[in-house]
């Protein structure tokens, strides 16, 4: 069973739809025992970092997520919340990855919205995937690159498109909305 973390962030349903298409059963839950016993946990989300972290702390989910031992995949806001801190609402995040999350600066269009390729892509999520492939991004904040960065994308400057550390994985893009390539990335995670 795959558990999808239920919290005050949108767009969780589309992750479940993607899992259904791949033939995986999933449950959307905030129950700590169900999250701990799941084969894999997906931590998705579209929303605002500060209110999301407040919700997670108020419900004890911050400790639960940090202490999970099975493979965990953060998506979009999920990735940002797994980092150390975010400039969005000046938020202290879960600190699973030491990266800092910053707001895109400059004159370019923000959010970074649409399909973009990787500059480089390695690690377990990108098995059989070339860096030239495109995936779908929608975000105004980005995680800096660092030692746990497994995929880099460039918009305004290079940033972490994916992170990996121990049993924790994270994608800034939306694999559930990235057509065949996204499906392959999800499959790579589900088959870990």
């Amino acid at each position: 069973m795959i558990a999808i973390v239920k919290y005050n962030a949108g767009n969780i349903r589309s992750v479940q739809n993607a899992l259904n298409r791949l033939g995986y059963e999933s449950i959307i839950t905030d129950d700590p025992s169900l999250l701990r016993s799941a084969d894999k946990v997906i931590f998705p989300g579209v929303g605002e970092a500060n209110s999301a972290m407040r919700y997670l702390r108020a419900n004890g989910l911050d400790e639960v997520i940090r202490s999970l031992k099975q493979p965990v995949l953060g998506i979009c806001l999920g990735l940002q919340l797994m980092c150390e801190s975010s400039e969005e609402g000046n938020t202290t995040c879960l600190g699973i990855f030491p990266n800092k999350v910053k707001r895109f600066q400059g004159d370019a269009i923000i959010p970074h919205m649409g399909w973009n390729n990787f500059e480089e892509a390695g690690g377990s999520l990108f098995k059989n995937i070339a860096p030239s492939e495109n995936v779908y991004f929608v975000h105004s904040f980005y995680a800096e690159t660092g030692q746990y960065t497994t995929a880099v994308c460039n918009y305004i400057q290079p940033f972490s498109a994916a992170l990996e550390k121990d049993n924790f994985y994270a994608a800034q893009f939306h694999p559930e909305k990235s057509a065949d390539i996204g499906t392959l990335i999800l499959k790579n995670f589900l088959e870990l």
Binding site: N11, R13, S14, N17, V46, G114, W115, N116, V138, K177
Partner: protein, 250 residues
């Protein structure tokens, strides 16, 4: 590099895809879910569903349609037409849409944009603007293009973004259905005025129209309906062509 997006638009009436010419004459163009799947497979970058009669007729069929689309396709999609309240948005997003678009309802009550952005984020709110050149100015029209307002397109786009809109979907009524190309001038005026993605719509008739859009304006996406529905320009052919023109395309 960020890619320019090709977006088929499906106008929905009573659960079917339809296409009007200059906002008036309506032709049937097929089952929306089947068309959506076909477009996603062919490489469409996003989809837009506009329920063109939603302001008049019942909306439950739209929510069911959104659920079916969300279950079947793996690219982002926007749903618009007759969204009047945060409650409407909640139902559409819960059914699986990635974004919603507002048009007449936002002109009537601009705070709606802020209310939706506050709850779902700006990335979720597309401000659809129907505009027509009256000889002097590009004015904003509402109610499916039937009613002129006092608003100017550029001013309304700027106001909409300041209220929380995360994207502008600009349709030139002068160009819509003519297949004579996009309205490049007003598209670029909007691009110059706001720092959010702009989707140009109305007038696409040939591959070169998309090239001109992407080489002469900063629009990040081109939207069209009939040329895709009637297979006049298959999406793979359009994308291959744009790549030969060195436009950044997925």
């Amino acid at each position: 590099m960020l890619k320019k997006r090709i977006i088929p638009c499906l106008d929905i009436q009573n659960g079917r895809t339809v296409k009007g010419i200059n906002f008036v004459e309506i032709r049937d163009a097929g089952d929306p879910v089947e068309l959506a799947k076909k477009y996603a497979k062919e490489g469409a970058d996003e989809l837009v569903f506009l329920d063109i009669t939603a302001t008049i007729e019942k909306r439950d069929t739209l929510v069911e349609l959104v659920e079916r689309v969300a279950a079947e396709i793996d690219i982002p999609f926007t749903v618009g037409g007759g969204i009047n309240s945060v409650d409407d948005v909640r139902r559409i997003i819960a059914a699986g849409a990635d974004k919603i678009s507002v048009n007449s309802s936002a002109v009537k009550r601009p705070e709606l944009i802020t209310e939706i952005a506050d709850e779902f984020g700006s990335q979720c709110v597309v401000l659809a603007i129907d505009t027509k050149f009256n000889g002097n100015d590009w004015k904003v029209y509402v109610k499916g293009g039937r009613e002129e307002t006092a608003l100017y397109a550029v001013d309304w786009a700027v106001q909409g973004v300041s209220l929380g809109a995360g994207e502008i979907l600009l349709t030139s009524m002068n160009n819509d259905g003519t297949k004579g190309g996009f309205a490049l001038d007003i598209t670029q005026s909007i691009c110059n005025a706001v720092k959010v993605p702009v989707i140009a719509s109305g007038g696409a008739g040939k591959e070169e129209d998309f090239r001109d859009l992407f080489t002469t304006t900063d629009a990040t996406a081109g939207l069209a309906a009939s040329i895709f529905h009637y297979n006049e320009i298959p999406i793979p052919q359009l994308k291959d062509y744009l790549k030969t023109q060195l436009i950044s395309i997925r």
